[in-house]
């Protein structure tokens, strides 16, 4: 499993759970899950790039 696949898997599962835990209608749940998923992935990639100089 690559690092990126791991973050995609983690983000998908957690965002779906959060959507169903916090919202009541299906539309709200899916919208919240999508936003949370994008937030997880984009922030993880951004942190990865920020730390990139330290890995060299």
């Amino acid at each position: 499993m690559t690092h990126f696949l791991a973050i995609l898997f983690f983000a998908l599962v957690i965002s779906l759970s959060f959507g169903f835990l916090t919202k009541r209608t299906l539309r709200d749940r899916l919208r919240y899950a999508l936003l949370t998923f994008l937030g997880f992935v984009l922030i993880a990639v951004a942190i990865g790039w920020l730390l990139y100089p330290l890995s060299r």
């Binding site: 499993m1 983690f10 599962v13 957690i14 779906l16 759970s17 169903f20 835990l21 299906l26």
Partner: protein, 134 residues
């Protein structure tokens, strides 16, 4: 405020809520299934199961309660939240944990996340059973 959310109704629902909490902890989603919340039951089971199974298959470290280390105890509490999957991880032979590679480390985190997520779902089931949440 609905009748189901009153303190008296909460008291009446406590035995039901206790059963739901135990069921929800033991098998993720079962508490919601008993409360006829089909959608949440299926999603919570799939999400917790996916994380727990991925954690086991990636050979993550599942913590044991036999430890003097506070951080390992915290890890155990998180893992134990996964209920039935915790016991499954103790009997499933997968060559033991291997955290010398990134995959094993991910496995450790995935399994702990499954446990904490299941605890959140259990709290949600409790709130639903006592009428605090629809």
């Amino acid at each position: 405020m609905s009748a189901a959310a009153t303190p008296a109704a909460d008291q009446a629902n406590l035995p039901l809520a206790a059963g739901v909490v135990f069921a929800s902890w033991l098998v993720p989603g079962l508490g919601h299934l008993l409360l006829r919340r089909w959608g949440r039951a299926v999603v919570f089971f799939l999400c917790v199961a996916a994380l727990a199974v991925a954690g086991i298959l990636l050979r993550g470290h599942v913590f044991s309660p036999k430890t003097d280390d506070a951080f390992e105890m915290l890890g155990f509490l998180a893992d134990f939240g996964a209920g039935g999957f915790y016991f499954l991880s103790r009997v499933y032979e997968n060559g033991g944990p291997d955290v010398s590679v990134a995959a094993g480390d991910y496995g450790t985190r995935f399994f702990a996340t499954a446990g904490v997520l299941n605890l959140l779902c259990t709290l949600d089931a409790f709130d639903t059973a006592t009428g605090k949440k629809g």
